[in-house]
Amino acid sequence: MASVSPVRNAETENMNRQPDNARDAAPSLAKPPEAPAVASSSLRFKVSKLKVFYGSKEVLHGIDLEISSNVVTALIGPSGCGKSTFLRSLNRMNETVRHARLEGQILLDGDNVLNMDVVRLRRRVGMVFQRPNPFPKSIFDNVAYGLRINGCKEKMSDAVEHSLRRAALWEEVKDQLHKSAYALSGGQQQRLCIARALAVDPEVLLLDEPCSALDPVTTAKIEELLFQLKPTCTIVIVTHNMQQAARASDFTAFLLEGNLIEFQKTPKLFTTPSDPRTEAYITGRFG
């Protein structure tokens, strides 16, 4: 563990030196033709025949899905369709649920996540939850948490600033870093949680309905944020909000009752879905 942290730290520093405008400019260049981001992407997750059981209940019935790097992949579907379960399989958070069982294969960059050390896996695959869950610590300590448990001790304040900037929260909190995180508004808390996840420099960021407890303005901020993170991070987002999936994602997967119904480029799925059930769902006939 100790041998890993200096490397990570160096990476963080490098990114820190990168001028701010370079990061800001990248997505706006990338978006209109949509080509650069997608073209540079490679396969990150390869999920095959994934089945998840809670006790004797089968929640996912064999899902095959490939998630590319440096794009935003959205998972949509009605409540209880298994999209959160799918997301939580990717970083093995399902294992915290008692009697949860998993079959099939999930490859992250070619390695089976089930054989990986779970702590390592979760450091590579960060997660943001439905409700903001900052720790009852100061803003600074929240962001620094991931670095501290990695054994990193130096350059903490630089790394914290960098993460808060990436989460577009720095300007709002820079004068109150040592105040309790609970003093922030809900939207700020959620961005703090994103900053906390980004601090350990994950390759993948999983978001489980991150905006469902937030107002539209804050939601727009977070969507903007996803866009800016794309060049450095693979993003998988679960959302109830179809507009959000349409706005913020490059690929969309539609799940229904534990089955993957359709997986397409987002514009195609929302304009010319190939499965009638997808069409029924996105036109609001059910769900």
Partner: protein, 282 residues
């Protein structure tokens, strides 16, 4: 019809007064005890009472300084023995135990909590006093420590369970191992509650006499170190109150007042601190 209404109303009023009266009795017992102690023991409270050793019968101006210090030392030892075991077992109970184990451990701690304190005293006697061949502070502290364990276990467990699950998931998702999650997020989040539980447990055993009878034994003088018999407030009260002299009775009242005062201060103090802390955190 009219008769039934009257009957119903009478019954209502009767039940209300009955519950009210019982509540009033419950509340007033504390104030009655406090008032009685102040009335009987207040006169004997003086600077000497807190700073001087007991004097031989007949002489005036003696105090119970050794018993106050003795109680403090015994409680310190009790904390040393009981708190780590209680808190760590509480962590196991809240974070690790499965259904069966949880039931077994909970049931056992509840039973341990119900063991009469005199029996705990015998236990400490046979385990510490007999091998050491003499009464000691150590034995008394051990007996009190054993008594704090079940209370600390249950209060720790309760406060840990009250920590919202998303906090656990948040830490785990950042790649924290389970024990690191517990150590760095969950226990700190419940810290004020756990500390309150500990203080209440100590306040509870501070007044125990029975387990000290044949462990700490009692002492008329200072008890340096940890290896000699030692005086304590409850023991002083017991000895003085059952003694034949009028001055002793008065001093017993005063010692009772001091003991109750200390317990109340600890109790109210921790609750106040807790209330302030939680209002800051939320």
């Amino acid at each position: 019809m009219n008769l039934r209404t009257i009957w119903r109303k009478t019954l209502n009023v009767t039940m209300l007064s009955l519950t009210g009266a019982c509540t009033l009795i419950t509340v007033s017992v504390l104030f009655f005890i406090l008032g009685y102690l102040v009335y009987n023991g207040g006169r004997d409270l003086s600077w000497n009472f807190f700073t001087k050793l007991p004097t031989p019968v007949g002489e005036t101006g003696g105090g119970v300084a050794n018993a106050i210090v003795g109680s403090a030392k015994l409680l310190f030892l009790a904390m040393l023995f009981g708190v780590p075991v209680g808190v760590i077992a509480g962590v196991y109970l809240a974070e690790f135990s499965g259904k069966t184990m949880n039931f077994v451990v909970r049931y056992t701690t509840d039973l341990l909590n119900g063991v009469p304190s005199i029996v705990i005293g015998i236990f400490a006697y046979s385990i510490v006093v007999v091998p050491m061949r003499h009464f000691s502070t150590l034995a008394g502290g051990f007996a009190l420590g054993v008594m704090t364990i079940p209370i600390t276990v249950r209060s720790t467990e309760q406060f840990l369970r009250a920590v919202p699950n998303p906090l656990r998931e948040g830490a785990l998702a950042l790649g924290a191992s389970k024990w690191k999650t517990i150590l760095t997020v969950i226990v700190p989040a419940a810290a004020s509650g756990i500390i309150t539980g500990i203080m209440l447990a100590l306040a509870r055993v501070a007044g125990e006499t029975a387990p000290l009878l044949f462990t700490a034994f009692g002492n008329q003088f200072w008890s340096p170190g940890w290896n000699q018999p030692i005086a304590s407030l409850p023991m002083v009260i017991y000895t003085y109150a059952t003694g034949p002299y009028e001055e002793w009775h008065e001093q017993a009242w005063a010692a009772g007042l001091v003991l109750l005062g200390l317990v109340l201060v600890v109790n109210i103090g921790t609750r106040l601190v807790l209330a302030r802390k939680t209002s800051v955190a939320r």
